[in-house]
């Protein structure tokens, strides 16, 4: 039976928020993902699809199965909670970009063919770059340009792989890849979005530069979509097992060094996605179940953690580092309590969601007798509790009372969104069966055994004791940590001068022309807030939307594609 892909709902909503008045915009931003959730739960079921042939390509914009559905559900939840968290905010650009971003992630997850996948993959990159762009921090715009560059390189790599695959007789059907050049190219592109080191630096670079509401959205979609496509296309590839374990530890090590609270959380996304990549790499039914379950729980608790950190930044008027915060717990108790629920969930504390999901991946590794991987994943678990559960909350909220920090009120909508996420974290922890029931394969894992509970409690209790012992060493340091983005940030200038700017020139000219037209249209309309001028404005001035679309981001995007295509052609010439 033909059904409508859920992305349609989100894209219509994204278009609507551009033209609707403020009060309705917020309602649409919350209603659209909620509607998607209801649509997935009540109207779609495994086996539904919509396919047709276009230009001799077999396309399938909707394919529903037990692997895509859990991701669809959790993306709906994340979209709705994120929109509630951002209820107080009034930025058309952020609202439209967030809806398009969440929508395109749903587009990827329900894409049955590689062409549809690539289209939504690129849309995801562009819309999320606009979220970073609108961050409002001094460096948001330049970070957004870097972010877009990296993702366009990734997207072009996926596109090149797909074209290679089709050109060598492969079908458009999105299924397991084999170890051909095409497969490796696609894997390379997916690895960028999954933030697998050394291709990960965009994540820690960009997420803290988004607005506090923007980073809640960013934390949910890109990396988890990547986990989904890896599970679909590369399940059982052993290299992913090794890379996943490395990710889990890499994130932990860099989180020790980090002073910016949201960057610390960003490094822990890399670490947590490592567990999911391990699950995909092992590739057994239990392991894939574990990867999916952990992705589901992760989207919710990570959203909650970013919400908590964002609330602290909001209340203190923009303080975002451990060295600039501390001693304010008494003035924002509710936020601290809700954040701690997320922290206990990510740390896999019994009765919280990580306990019932993360351990499933570790159990799958045990089943395959991968003792080294299990030991290293437990090591990473210790690091996770140390940073997210102890260091970040301690130095952000606790410690000696600081009266020099002014703490303002936190909007009620933020508390409502955090409460929603916290309830889900506890719900999945206490009663995981509904989650287990929607996993791709029948579940035979039991989280609550005496051995598992006692082991976890012992591990976490003595991590806390070691934290106490080393408290003086863990204080934030006002430093900047260089990561692998150093290489392309240093190379940025020649790329800008010789590739980006020449490519940008026609767009700059077009933008100048379009700005003139938009301003003219604004003048001739009867009221400034009607007709074309309103349609063309995202943030106030009629020309804003055009200048946003026409200037740096597009040039960066074209430059990225140019560089990638050139590199791939060069590779093809050398190796074929």
């Amino acid at each position: 039976m033909d059904s409508m892909p859920p992305v349609v709902i989100m894209l219509i909503a994204a278009a609507l928020v551009v033209v609707l008045p403020r009060a309705l915009r917020r309602a649409v931003a919350v209603a659209a993902p909620t509607l998607v959730l209801a649509y997935l739960a009540f109207f779609l079921e495994a086996g539904d699809s919509w396919s047709f042939t276009w230009l001799s390509l077999d396309l399938e914009p909707l394919r529903v199965d037990r692997l895509s559905l859990p991701f669809g559900y959790v993306f709906g939840i994340a979209g709705a909670l994120g929109a509630i968290y951002a209820w107080h905010q009034d930025s058309k650009l952020q609202q439209a970009a967030s809806l398009a971003y969440a929508g395109s992630s749903l587009g990827v997850v329900f894409a049955g063919d590689l062409v549809t996948l690539v289209v939504f993959w690129e849309l995801m990159a562009v819309s999320s770059a606009y979220i970073v762009w609108g961050g409002g921090w001094p460096s948001s715009k330049s970070t957004s340009a870097r972010y877009l560059f990296v993702h366009m390189v990734g997207g072009s790599t996926v596109l090149a792989g797909v074209l290679w695959h089709l050109g060598t007789g492969g079908s458009t059907d999105f299924t397991l890849f084999d170890g051909t050049t095409a497969g490796w190219l696609v894997l390379g592109g997916f690895a960028i979005n999954a933030a697998i080191p050394p291709l990960h630096a965009w994540l820690a670079d960009a997420y803290p530069e988004a607005s506090i509401t923007g980073s809640v959205f960013l934390s949910a979609f890109t990396t988890k979509t990547a986990v989904y496509v890896l599970a679909r296309g590369f399940a059982g590839w052993e290299i992913l097992l090794v890379l996943g374990v490395m990710m889990a530890l890499y994130g932990v090590i860099f989180a020790v060094l980090e002073n910016d609270i949201r960057r610390l959380l960003a490094y822990h996304i890399i670490s947590q996605v490592g567990y999911m990549v391990v699950g995909v790499g092992i590739g057994t039914e239990t392991a894939i179940n574990g990867a999916v379950a952990h992705a589901f729980a992760h989207v919710i608790y990570k959203g909650l953690l970013f919400m908590g950190a964002g609330a602290a930044i909001h209340a203190t008027g923009g303080r975002r580092t451990l060295t600039a915060l501390g001693g304010i717990a008494g003035r924002m108790r509710t936020v601290v309590a809700l954040y701690m629920i997320g922290a206990l969930a990510i740390s896999a504390f019994p009765l919280f969601s990580g306990f019932t999901t993360k351990s499933m991946v570790i159990f799958a590794a045990e089943e395959e007798h991968l003792a080294w991987a299990v030991a290293l994943l437990y090591l990473a678990s210790v690091g996770t509790f140390l940073h997210t559960g102890l260091k970040l909350p301690y130095f952000t909220w606790f410690g000696p009372r600081r009266d020099d920090i002014r703490v303002g009120p936190v909007p009620k909508n933020m508390i409502v969104a955090m409460t929603g996420a916290a309830v889900l974290c506890v719900g999945i922890g206490v009663y995981p069966q509904p989650l287990y029931d929607i996993l791709p394969f029948a579940n035979h894992y039991e989280a609550y055994t005496a051995d598992h509970v006692v082991t976890t409690l012992q591990l976490l209790a003595f991590t806390a004791i070691a934290f106490w012992l080393l408290l003086h060493k863990l204080r934030g340091e006002a430093t900047i940590t260089i990561d692998t983005d150093w290489f392309y940030r240093k190379a940025g200038k020649p790329v800008r001068v010789f590739i980006q700017q020449p490519l940008e020139w026609p767009f700059t000219q077009a933008a100048r022309f379009a700005t003139g037209v938009a301003n003219f249209a604004g003048r001739i309309s009867l009221t400034p807030e009607s007709g074309w001028s309103r349609l063309l404005s995202l943030g106030g001035e009629p020309s804003t939307v055009i200048s946003l679309l026409g200037r740096p981001p597009l040039g960066v995007a074209v430059a990225a594609m140019f560089v990638t295509v050139a590199a791939i052609v060069l590779l093809a010439a050398v190796f074929d």
Partner: protein
């Protein structure tokens, strides 16, 4: 003093409780690798792992990747927060 009396007392109590709970409730410890089924193994693992993570990461960071000056602008890293429109 790093090793305060409260810390030592807490550690002792935690060890005692861990041992009692483990001996009472866990009939058969799962053996993952050599020694992992020993009583109180995971207390030691948590404690040592935490110390190793902190010390190794800090050494790595201070030696290789942490900078007091912004490597991209050359300006010193600010101690005070930068104001932003963080709505």
């Amino acid at each position: 003093m790093i090793l305060s009396r409260r810390l030592l007392l807490t550690t002792t109590v935690a060890l005692f409780v861990s041992a009692v709970v483990e001996l009472l409730f866990v009939e058969h410890r799962h053996r993952l690798f050599f020694g992992s089924d020993t009583t109180l193994f995971w207390t030691a693992f948590g404690f040592v792992a935490c110390i190793v993570i902190v010390l190794v990461s800090k050494w790595f960071g201070h030696t290789f990747v942490m900078r007091h000056d912004d490597p991209y602008t050359g300006e010193p890293v600010q101690h005070e927060p930068s104001e932003g429109d963080n709505g």
